[in-house]
Symmetry: C2
Amino acid sequence: MRDVAQRAGVSIGTASKALNDNGRLKADTRTRVIAAAQELGFRPNSLAQSLHRTRSMTVGVLSTDSFGRFAFPIIEALEERLAEQGIAIFMCNATDDPEREKRHLDQLLGKRIDGLLVTGRRMDKRPPVAVPGQTMPVIYVFSQADDPEALCLLPDDYGGARLAVEHLIGLGRRRIAHITGPESFEAVTLRHRGYRDALTTAGLSASDTFFRKGKWSEAWGREAVADLFDDAAEMPDALFCGNDQIARGASDALRERGIDVPGQVAVVGFDNWDVMTLAARPPLSSVDMNLRELGRLAGERLISMIAGERFKGVERLPCSLFVRQSSDTNQS
Amino acid sequence: MRDVAQRAGVSIGTASKALNDNGRLKADTRTRVIAAAQELGFRPNSLAQSLHRTRSMTVGVLSTDSFGRFAFPIIEALEERLAEQGIAIFMCNATDDPEREKRHLDQLLGKRIDGLLVTGRRMDKRPPVAVPGQTMPVIYVFSQADDPEALCLLPDDYGGARLAVEHLIGLGRRRIAHITGPESFEAVTLRHRGYRDALTTAGLSASDTFFRKGKWSEAWGREAVADLFDDAAEMPDALFCGNDQIARGASDALRERGIDVPGQVAVVGFDNWDVMTLAARPPLSSVDMNLRELGRLAGERLISMIAGERFKGVERLPCSLFVRQSSDTNQS
DNA sequence: TTGAAAGCGCTAACAA
DNA sequence: TTGTTAGCGCTTTCAA
């Protein structure tokens, strides 16, 4: 900065004004300073800037499980949104270790982050992050804090499930089964509820004979199909699966039994994970949680909160249904 | 800091010495200051600290494609290693857009990062990142720069392929086919070379009749199996696949033809991606690129380079083979 | 063993 | 319209 001022033949304060576009300056002076900065390859030290301004232009992202498959689209979109405002993100991973989480938090606070985003799939609500002073914005994404004052951003699992099941009903299916993951996940409960409500709304019975909970794996999908179809008095004509791995396993198991998908049984998964949906035969319909949207919204909210706005409570973002051959009787 | 000094009844300089454990201080004074800091919940402003010290204790991670599946383990392990030294990482994603890359780089330089890590699967060597001054350490991981002075950390694709093929040879297989991805990837070339060298070393012919290149997908794996096995004069007794998706597709296709894996045909994949290897029937053997190791090594090197050491050239980390049922005739 | 003071690179209020 | 100056919060000589 000093060098730039000297080069341009102005005071150091003037140079600062010119480069930051504030204060009243003669256009000529301004351009002269900017030229000097250019020639010298001057790059303002944002550490020094942050010492003055109230903001560091950085936020922290704390992942509680490791950076899983679900975290990436969220973080990617978040980073994109924040980068538009010149905000950089610090990434930390605590792997569910409270000790590490605390160390990371200390480090982030030392770096004077302007806000914090906490993420990480969990089965239950997590204890809120202990930020001294209460003033720094904190957002939980794809994660819920046990604190009514906290802002939590989540996909609308319930609505996503209804979307899927209503689609199957629209296809004329009446015996729709639901195969899903471990009930310790809130998502399992919510999706199950969506499934049942969609059925009852349509005047269909939602008994538990067509409901199976287990693991999030292909093997479980295959197993559940065996259970539902082999020697069954009444066979389902559609499957709504809790995730795409289950759906893929189920779809494989059906094919191997000579049951046509979607002709005899339509299948819809959840997550819209291309690795599964596109590799399956036929390609799988699936509910998309719009994780990039979620990440972008988190960025949006964080920016507003840094600017002083307050948000609280649980906000759920709608899911979308992607229809592919596994539930499309016209294309099959 | 001022508050802490006041509270402890010492000068501000003394307080600093006490908290940073340098200078000669009476033990009593030191503990008094530390106590005061504790009570006041004092947290040093690392922005201010960095203004003095030469280091900001931050590094940048620039991803050129988006944060892909391969990037997670690398970045995770990197972050873990750097966190041990109290170094935080800024994550940026440029998605192969030079414009965005430049903006991110400017931002990072403004934040006075101590080092930079560039990552992102690419087919060809990328132009080196333009860092003015040449002094900041830069490492390319899972990515290669077109600059002999750059340090590039990569998995040993060639060695990994040899490992797999030698394993198959050890099983007594003699007609080993290689199904792989698009040849525009350097990894495809290297793995192919490893495959051929392993064969010729064992005195087997490495003709192109058993070589198929295509896509990185399950569908391609199935297709290639159809091509290799249906109406073939001579059928392979083993498949070495360029990635796990191909291997999975191939394995499915074999099963559907009633060909026993591993009895008649052994299958080995590449990536050791559990989503594929464990869901396949039988579970797939696969070559692991040790990406976490790679990330950790990158952290290690970055720390050394920040301390002044210099490294250059391409460094390749060994792969490991994970044997599962698809190539284990004892377990099958 | 401690305190005083200069300064890291920058901004912003106030004077000129 | 520009220059001067007092810090932002901390570290580190140098004196005391």
